[in-house]
């Protein structure tokens, strides 16, 4: 019998869950007077940065971040389950995000996994206490998410690598102290993925400049990053030359949570159907809550069915007998299903607001402070980034259904 249900929680875990929930309730900062970022890709001003930095420091100081990391590097040496409980409660109570995501979920776990003692000493604590902000330098202009086409060069010269080229969609590039950088060390490599290497690059380096990108939301959060004969120490490389692709793929595994090695802390404020239902309950139309309107109800139920199927897909994916005809379907379509659902659901939220749907963040009468407006526009980072929905559909068509390439 295959049963994909969570087992009952141990008493000590339930106890800890109460403890962290109480701490979060007592320590979550009051409304700062501006709309909090929903993801770490929305840290667009010093004001937001300072707020989030202080919050992450507070969480770490209380011992609730990096709980499964070793004590000597700023962690608690606890079982990963404790951090997972913290993360679950943070999600449930909708506290602000732990914004240093590239450090907490990508670079940190990688350094713990394959880094030297010296590297662990140098980097890990700064990731947890938010002293050192990390950025990711994978994508390049004109190459979208096709990492195999990376052109940024890293040439060995004595004790340095000399970096030339540019990166785009660098999260918090203007604030970051370090970047996980994927660059080409061997342009002659027969397989283009084998010519890449992975670096922990210091951003405060002569020859590295950043240019903030104004997003369609009107806010900042990313930069374009330029490298002009930027010299970084040769010992910044992780692994050996040519292993960059493999290591980059490895970093993607950690972000699945504390059990996978991540320091923890929530990286996004999740939005689910319940939030939309609450909004529809609060909006009045023709003298009653919008939630009573039959057409609205039909549309909301359609979204609820879709949401339920999304959640159930993971459960069914764990039962081989029920996935046999298209075995990779659920795994390969997860991004497309999830991100497109959220796009349409958030778009619909604006539709439901009536004339207020035209208001935006900053207007005193905007519904929920313009939360839905901004969330809808920002959602395009998920339907575009990491392979657009259209590319995803190609991948599913070709690799799940066996349709010919276009």
């Amino acid at each position: 019998m295959t049963i994909a249900n969570a087992p009952k929680e141990l008493p000590e875990h339930a106890e800890f869950r109460k403890e962290i929930a109480a701490w979060l309730r007592a320590n979550t900062p009051a409304n700062p007077g501006f709309l909090l970022p929903q993801t770490f890709m929305e840290v667009g001003s010093d004001q937001v940065l300072d707020f989030l930095r202080e919050w992450q420091f507070k969480v770490w100081s209380a011992g609730y971040l990096g709980m499964a990391w070793p004590k000597q590097y700023g962690g608690q040496g606890a079982a990963p389950i404790y951090q997972s409980i913290v993360d679950q409660e943070m999600k449930r109570l909708r506290v602000p995000i732990c914004f240093n995501v590239i450090g907490l979920g990508w670079a940190g776990p990688l350094i713990l996994d394959i880094g030297s003692d010296m590297e662990k000493e140098k980097y890990l604590k700064g990731i947890l206490n938010a002293d050192d902000i990390w950025a990711q330098g994978f994508s390049e202009p004109n190459h979208g998410s096709d990492l195999g086409s990376i052109q940024t060069r890293a040439e060995r010269d004595g004790d340095d690598y000399v970096i030339n080229g540019s990166k785009i969609w660098t999260t918090m590039g203007n604030y970051a102290k370090y970047m996980i950088l994927l660059a080409r060390t061997d342009p002659q490599a027969e397989r283009r993925y084998n010519g890449l290497s992975f670096f922990l690059a210091p951003m405060k380096t002569a020859g590295i400049t950043t240019q903030p990108i104004k997003k369609l939301t009107g806010e900042y959060g990313f930069t374009e990053t330029f490298f002009t004969d930027a010299r970084i120490p040769a010992n910044c490389i992780m692994g050996d030359e040519g292993q960059g692709w493999r290591i980059a793929m490895k970093t993607l595994q950690y972000e699945r949570g504390a059990e996978a090695g991540a320091a923890g802390g929530i990286s996004i404020l999740s939005i689910a159907m319940n939030d939309l239902l609450n909004m529809a309950q609060d909006i009045e139309r023709d003298g009653q809550p919008l939630l009573k309107d039959p057409i609205t109800r039909d549309n909301l139920v359609k979204f609820l069915i879709e949401e339920q199927a999304l959640y159930l897909a993971e459960q069914r994916g764990a039962i081989p007998a029920l996935t046999r005809d298209y075995p990779n379907s659920i795994a390969l379509s997860g991004k497309l299903r999830g991100t497109e659902f959220f796009r349409r659901m958030r778009q619909y939220a604006l539709t439901l607001q009536g004339a207020n749907g035209a208001l935006y963040v900053g207007d005193s009468e905007a519904t929920d402070g313009g939360f839905w407006q901004r969330a809808y526009l920002n959602n395009f980072s998920t339907t575009i980034g990491g392979g657009t929905s259209q590319v995803q559909a190609n991948i599913i068509g070709e690799h799940v259904l066996g349709l010919p390439k276009d």
């Binding site: 049963i3 994909a4 139920v301 879709e306 069914r316 007998a321 559909a393 068509g397 259904l401 010919p404």
Partner: protein
Amino acid sequence: MRKTNLAMAFSDEQAMILDSAKAFCSDKSTIAAVRNLLDSETGFNPQVWQEMVALGWTGIAIPEEYGGLNLGVGALVPLVETMGRHLLGTPLISSALTAQAILRSGTESQRAAWLPALADGAAGALALLDNVDWGGDFSGCTVSGSGDNLTLTGRKLMVADGAVSDLFVVSASHAGQPVLVLVEAKQLPAGALESKTLIDETKRACNVDFSGVTVTSSALLTPSASTLHELRLIGALLTAAEATGTAAAALDLIVSYLTTRVQFGRLIGSYQALKHPTVEILLQMDAARSLIYHAATLIGDCPIDSNTEIACRMAKAQATEALLFAGDRAVQFHGGMGFTYDCDAQLYIRRAQWAQHQYGDAQHHRRKLADLLLD
């Protein structure tokens, strides 16, 4: 705030049924076999039906003491899904629902009289429908008289497999109360059955006029307030399972055409205008499959709770919408061929119209879901 139930389980028995159903249906219900039956009177091959009986499938959800396998309604789902995938026409769904009606509201002697026969391949039919939208609990069929002198008046619509049924379970009102009446085919007066011309030529249904049929009190089942409601939900789930299988079959047909048909010098599956909607069909079918197996996990012999009701309704709404989309696109993507009777796409688009109206269409279920989820 409602707590979402996401249970999903699949037993070894269900897996075995799924495996043998796949082997059986792909062998016995090839497209050629399906087409051979399109203009037959009964719509199914009695020899194939007898083999299904011998495999125990007619008794899957019937308790062992009445000759069944006692695996529950959830174990019918993989079988029915597979039948849908191969358009295998038999009275299995109708008979299984009839058995559920008797199991859930029959006396011991009624169960003993009928469940072994149904497990052994007797065909049964539910005669529930009074109006076209599956709405309302009022029955247009009435039972008059008292004691052992009871007479039925009224007609039921679109009784699936009515023409081959040995037994009918008829919803009616008696002295203002809803009742279920057992009527044997041999009790029907001549001309009571009016066979309908259906858009789906793999299915059979008829209107049945029960006026003048006389029964004794032993023919009255004793439904609880929720029995009819439960039968409709089980009917919705089984229809959803069948539709999910058929959506997957339509997808298979599209994929096979897109990977062999060349136009403008290229396989047409390489065009994104065809590729992307085909992926959408896959995702809609996948969603339906997740929902039917979730409902199959929750549904048991006990009264149906609200989580199970939500699961059945979501499954029905999703599965029949997925099939409507898949059938429609299957025709379109076959171009000129798709407009012909010879192209198999017609089988799926026609089945889609049948499936959407069995036990309530998607909008009907969404309306009920709105009451369950939004109030």
